[in-house]
């Protein structure tokens, strides 16, 4: 029998037992709908993450962090992320751009409003990368030495401004409080000398033989000295200001590894603040102090170390080999592509878990197919005998019954995919309403890529064929002589 005849006969047979076929197909429809809806949720999640990564250019981004002195396995000091290191990293093969991350706690004055926020300097080339290129208004920084600044949506919200265009061209006075080493050190010798003088008078000559006593005195004096240093460092701060014009408003980004500070200014402004003194957090100060880079030399920033450097790779660069090279230099790296690989691995397990649930539903439906087909054989025993008497061989009968069960699977798959798609659309619409109410950025939680449709279809047909195999083989083995005498 040719496939056209097989399909015609199989369709005719299913049509004859409409109600039973409908109920059996319904089981497949429900199973496939569940399978499709669940996997389209998994695919949708994966797509959203991939899109976000792609949108920000994260697949070609690596972030570099300095290692602690111990972790770096360096006996002298840890590998430092200073300007020399940034330049060396930028020169590595496959690296398109390397720029350090720096941040300042700033006071910003716009017209009569003054707010305290955070700011970061960026090289102009970095502002043109995907991560910083989504502008609500205006344009990006024109050069590294320009008197321009970019602000974010978050900044607008701080100023309670809704129209980003209204900010363009407005003057921004950015002020940073900096501490100088001189002011800190100035507090130390005096107190230290005074204390040691006082103590010296108290120390008897013979007590100097006692090593522990001496150590205790020295430790205590150092504590007092450090306290004086910190006190001097934090309380003797000078204010450095720069006046900039707002040239563009960046789309806000809430959290995440590439969170943009509310104010972005050019490198020139950053250097100016850095060279004026230490402007960071006191805790970070100790980290810098530990690495020996707090103030490499007074008045310039060549020795300044950064907490993080961001790398943009060439399109075809291998992130793994670049990461390895950088790690060999003594740094810690974080690659988004590698992270995404982990996420994808998670999604494979996630999809598998969803597929197993769908499979269980489909296996349940396949029992219905087995039942329907066996009932069909019992009812059509005489027909099988007639077909065999007319020249059908075992293969013809087996294929005929397999086509019937395959057809149940195929029809079930088509309607199941349509139902699954409808469910996913409805669920997506409901999710959107909820996200809108909670002010979560709009995204489609479900997606139905062609591979999913094809997989669901083939899966349903394959399971149906497997379910129909036993009944079909049983039908093929029917003895035609007995079958022809069946009432």
């Amino acid at each position: 029998m040719i496939i056209r005849d097989l399909l015609a006969v199989a369709t005719g047979n299913l049509w004859r037992m409409k109600l039973r076929a409908f109920l059996t197909i319904s089981g497949v429809v429900i199973a496939i709908a569940a399978f499709v809806a669940m996997l389209s949720f998994g695919a949708g999640m994966q797509k959203n993450i991939a899109e976000q990564f792609n949108e920000l250019g994260l697949f070609s981004t690596i972030q570099i962090y300095p290692r602690g002195a111990r972790a770096a396995n360096h006996t002298d000091k840890a590998a430092v992320l200073d300007d020399h290191a940034v330049a060396a990293i930028a020169a590595l093969p496959g690296v398109q751009l390397a720029y350090p991350f720096d941040e300042f706690s700033v006071t910003v004055t716009v017209a009569d409003t003054q707010i305290t926020t955070e700011a970061q300097p960026l090289p102009t080339v970095a502002t043109r990368t995907k991560a910083f290129s989504r502008l609500l208004a205006g344009k990006s920084l024109s050069s590294d030495s320009t008197h321009e600044a970019l602000v974010t949506e978050e900044f607008m919200q701080m100023l309670k401004i809704n129209d980003p265009d209204s900010l363009l061209g407005r003057q921004l006075i950015v002020s940073v409080k900096v501490s100088s080493l001189d002011s800190a050190v100035a507090r130390v010798p005096q107190s230290m000398v005074e204390t040691i003088d006082e103590r010296a008078r108290e120390i008897r000559f013979d007590s100097l033989r006692n090593k522990h006593y001496l150590e205790r005195i020295v430790r205590r004096e150092l504590q007092i000295a450090m306290s004086g240093f910190v006190d001097g460092f934090m309380n003797a701060r000078a204010t450095v200001s720069d006046t900039l014009n707002i040239c563009g408003v960046l789309e806000g980004r809430h959290g995440g590894p590439l969170r943009i500070k509310p104010v972005v200014f050019p490198i020139r402004t950053g250097k100016r603040f850095s060279s004026a003194g230490y402007s960071g957090d006191p805790i970070d100060m100790f980290t810098s102090l530990n690495s020996g880079t707090l103030f490499a030399s007074s008045g310039d920033t060549t020795g300044k170390s950064y907490p993080k450097v961001t790398l943009n790779l060439d399109q075809y660069a291998d992130y793994e080999s670049v990461s390895d090279t950088i790690e060999a230099l003594g740094y810690r790296t974080f690659s988004f592509a590698k992270e995404f690989k982990e996420i994808r691995r998670f999604f494979i397990y996630f999809d598998l878990a969803l597929a197993v649930i769908g499979l269980i539903a489909l296996i349940t439906a396949s029992l219905g197919i087995v039942n329907t087909m066996i009932m069909s054989i019992i009812e059509r025993t005489r027909e099988i005998g007639v077909l065999k008497s007319l020249g059908a061989d075992e293969r013809d009968i087996r294929v005929l019954f397999l086509v019937e069960s395959g057809l149940i699977g195929a029809i079930g798959a088509i309607f199941g995919i349509l139902l699954g798609w409808t469910i996913s659309r409805v669920a997506s619409a409901i999710a959107r309403i909820i996200m809108e109410r909670r002010e979560i950025p709009d995204m489609d939680l479900f997606t139905m890529p062609p591979w999913l449709v094809l997989t669901a279809f083939l899966f349903a047909v394959a399971v149906s064929l497997a379910a129909g195999y036993y009944p079909a083989s049983r039908a093929a083995r029917v003895d035609p002589v007995e079958a022809l005498h069946t009432e």
Binding site: M1, R4, D5, V9, G12, R16, R382, E383, G385, V386, L387, K388, S389, L390, G391, A392, D393, E394, R395, D396, P480, V481, L484
Partner: protein, 237 residues
């Protein structure tokens, strides 16, 4: 001496029914010539239908063999045996064995599904055959809408549409009234006159005498010694 067209050699077919062995066909030697009309008569359970099923390739002998044009059917594989049924053999039954969900045309077409007849040809050939048997106005009728005689004629059309070399008729008039029996008998005789070899199993001696050229009688699975001068050709083993 010419080799018979179809010949059986010590043909046996035994069944097991519970602890007992039933010898449905027990050592039958029989020959059939091309173009003849052979009648196989006997009481119910004498093995006449079994021998017909064996000759038609629907059943396999327990021992012995059937040679068709010198080729033992036992040497054919399942596919070849199916092809033998599809191309060379036509069968009709007492209970017609028409498929109730198909029309008369559909039932007849069904016989052409397995002998490689192209789709378009199938409908034409089936309609032609039904018209030849006087059922031109019954093409779209389902078996349930036809009389017994008409149903048997549809069954004969189904057997003839593939132009078989031999027609095996198993009690073809068993379910028919006198008039329909007469019509079917005439039809089978006509077909035989046109050159079709017919082997008919019946318990109706009158019908057998009326139609056949030669009769054999089965008795408990064996060919019986001829009691009637009309009997002949068969050799009791």
């Amino acid at each position: 001496m010419d080799t018979p067209w179809i010949q059986t050699h010590d043909l046996c077919r035994y069944y097991r029914r519970g602890p007992q062995q039933v010898r449905a066909v027990d050592g039958v030697n029989l020959s059939i010539d091309r173009g003849e009309f052979l009648g196989i008569v006997g009481a119910s359970g004498s093995g006449k239908s079994t021998i017909l099923n064996l000759l038609a390739g629907l059943d396999s002998p327990t021992s012995g063999s059937i040679d068709f044009e010198g080729v033992p059917l036992g040497s054919l594989n399942r596919r070849q045996l199916a092809a033998y049924r599809a191309h060379r053999v036509g069968m009709i039954f007492q209970s017609f064995n028409l498929l109730g969900h198909h029309t008369a045309l559909g039932n007849v077409e069904l016989a052409l599904y397995f002998n490689d007849t192209p789709h378009r040809e199938r409908t034409r050939l089936a309609a032609e055959t039904l018209k030849r048997l006087g059922l031109g106005d019954r093409l779209d009728h389902r078996p349930g809408d036809l009389s017994g005689g008409e149903q048997q004629r549809v069954a004969i059309a189904r057997a003839l549409v593939k132009r078989p070399e031999i027609l095996f008729a198993d009690e073809p008039t068993g379910n028919l009234d006198h008039e329909n029996t007469r019509q079917i008998a005439e039809l089978l005789t006509d077909l035989n006159r046109q050159g079709l070899t017919v082997v008919m199993v019946t318990h109706d001696l009158d019908l057998a005498r009326q139609c056949t050229q030669r009769m054999i009688r089965m008795h408990y699975g064996r060919l019986a010694a001829p009691k009637d001068p009309a009997f002949g050709g068969g050799t009791a083993s």
